[in-house]
């Protein structure tokens, strides 16, 4: 296949990938969009085989390796529980990153095969592109591994900070740039390896100071990095499909990070520099005083909700941890049978990744037209009888609107306190991730339900 013809086919793949993302503008078109994506991928792979024209024993091995990887991927995709989606996505990001590093390494070791010059005399532009691709890929890889370990609970979700952390990161970042510069002059392979190794280190150092509830930003950011790494490799290989995809994924991740940061009213750098909860937590524990709370049980909650005309459910990360989404759906079903109008309110940063709550509710067969975003539903709290807060905390704290001293001041929050009564399911009165006390606990219209989210919801179902 001629180079021009294959370039055209790569362009088609790129367009199909654009359509795949376009499909996600509504759930109806999304499934079709996914097929576009699959078609684009198949075209890219077939065109690559045809343009290489090498169907010797190597080809057989390639297909075998492809199928090995494919079966592992398919197995994971079918077996993974929906609650584990954040760590799965983080894990997948790490694979893209590492694949980018490997491709860059082979391009560096065998530049003739890619038409980039010869060893020791690689074209300047290609050398810059492949070292950037390798560096970003390596950062994506090690950063995603840390994110994966934190989300999986293998590593503590608490921010790990130490003195001079930011200075070290800055120095390492600058040293990568210097090394790329010297690599371009000398073409020495040990410089290339140093770039890769330092980048792995940067990835780790970049993610360890970021705490659990900031994970939505981290995952989106790593998503973006994996795109830029792919684009870097795309430039090296002069491949349009890869360049288009890299740009799409890069900007997609960047937009998601922006939306997540806005959902917390924090700047991107504030999140990346880390340690939000770490410093505040100790302070708030000291100043915490005992204030009276109203304590209720499942029967009280069932009674309140059964006699309400409208109920808004506010799910958060705690629902995911307790796997309470199915019990919640059952509760809503019996409420609906009693003629109660039920809707769900989702805060942009609820959960551990963008859209996390929506997927869990969809898994529990909650129709997506009952689920609303913050802007769509926030005015409805004033007219609703009961707000059922399950596993959310900081995103409901009214202090974000009233106290300029609070670290979460200015963060958009759900106006839960405006509803006639609030049922707050929580295991204890401990503060949430931001380390601040939730004013909502002590309001007159709040009834605390101290229990595991799933157990409490199941008990309410029973007494309904």
């Amino acid at each position: 296949m001629s180079a021009n013809l294959s370039a055209l086919f790569y362009l088609i793949s790129g367009i199909l990938f654009i359509l795949a993302l376009r499909g996600l503008s509504s759930p109806e078109t999304s499934r079709q969009g996914n097929y576009f994506g699959i078609a684009g991928m198949i075209i890219s792979i077939i065109v690559t085989f045809l343009s290489l024209g090498n169907f010797g024993p190597g080809f057989i091995y390639v297909v075998v390796f492809l199928l090995i990887g494919g079966s592992i991927g398919a197995y994971i995709a079918f077996r993974i529980p929906m609650t584990a989606m954040p760590e799965l996505v983080a894990g997948f990001h790490s694979l893209v990153g590492l694949a980018a590093v490997f491709v860059a390494i082979s391009a560096f070791l065998n530049p003739e095969a890619f038409g980039l010059g010869s060893i020791g005399a690689i074209k300047l532009a290609s050398l810059i592109e492949m070292s950037l691709g390798a560096a970003i890929g390596a950062i994506t890889f090690s950063g995603s591994i840390i994110a994966f370990l934190k989300l999986r609970g293998i590593m503590s979700g608490a921010p790990i900070t130490f003195k001079g952390q930011h200075l070290i990161n800055l120095l390492l970042g600058l040293s990568i740039i210097f090394l790329i510069y010297y690599l371009c002059i000398s073409q020495a392979s040990n410089l290339f390896w140093s770039i890769v190794i330092i980048s792995f280190l940067v990835g780790i150092l970049l993610i360890i100071p970021i705490g659990g509830a900031d994970m939505p930003v981290v995952i989106s950011m790593l998503n973006s990095y994996s795109g830029w790494a792919a684009a870097g490799i795309g430039f090296t290989l002069e491949n349009t499909a890869l360049i288009i995809t890299g740009a799409l994924v890069g900007s997609s991740g960047a937009i998601l990070s922006y939306i997540m940061c806005k959902g917390m009213n924090r700047s991107f750098f504030n999140v990346i520099l880390g340690g939000w909860g770490a410093s505040e937590q100790t302070e708030s524990l000291q100043t915490k005083e005992q204030k009276p709370v109203k304590n209720g049980n499942a029967d009280d909650a069932a009674f309140l909700m059964k006699n309400a005309s409208s109920v808004i459910i506010v799910p958060g990360y705690g629902m995911a941890v307790a796997q309470a989404q199915h019990a919640l759906r059952e509760m809503v079903d019996s409420l609906k049978k009693n003629g109660v109008k039920v809707s769900y309110a989702i805060h942009p940063v609820a959960g551990r990744m963008p859209g996390h709550m929506n997927v869990l509710l969809a898994e529990a067969n909650v129709p997506y037209d009952e689920v609303f975003e913050l802007d769509e539903i926030n005015n409805d709290f004033a007219n609703c009888d009961v707000a059922y807060v399950i596993g959310a905390n900081d995103v409901t704290n009214p202090i974000a609107k009233s106290d300029p001293q609070s670290p979460i001041y200015g963060m958009p929050v759900l106006d839960v306190e405006k509803s006639k009564s609030v049922l707050f399911v929580k295991r204890s009165l401990s503060p949430g991730y931001a380390g601040i006390d939730n004013d909502l606990f002590y309001r007159d219209n709040t009834l605390m339900l101290f229990a595991d989210a799933k157990k409490m919801t199941e008990e309410i179902v029973k007494s309904l």
Partner: protein, 100 residues
């Protein structure tokens, strides 16, 4: 003077960033998780580079130096392609409208 092909690729890249920007803003927030998994899957088109690298070896030994890295990258990218598209499909199947 002839235009360097790099400039063409750069143009494609920058235009694609703009396309990405507008397309992603139109994605509904409830589908942000599938968005991440599908972008994950499509960025694995890096497998193209992995295949070139794997088949580049001229010697009889298929798994020498640079092509070994190519083969490893094929496995990683393939996990992502299959895993990414299938898990996206699985999620999208769950999004249902209210039964009327």
């Amino acid at each position: 003077m002839e235009i360097d092909p790099f400039i063409f690729r750069l143009s494609i890249f920058i235009l694609s960033i703009f396309v990405g920007y507008y397309v992603v803003w139109s994605v509904t927030p409830s589908l942000h998780t599938p968005l991440m998994s599908v972008t994950n899957a499509i960025s694995s088109v890096i497998i193209v580079g992995a295949i070139i690298a794997a088949l580049a070896s001229s010697s009889d030994n298929i798994f020498e130096g640079s092509s070994l890295f190519g083969f490893l990258a094929i496995i990683l990218a393939a996990v992502n392609i299959f895993g990414g598209f299938l898990v996206t499909q699985r999620m999208l199947q769950m999004y249902k409208k209210k039964k009327k």
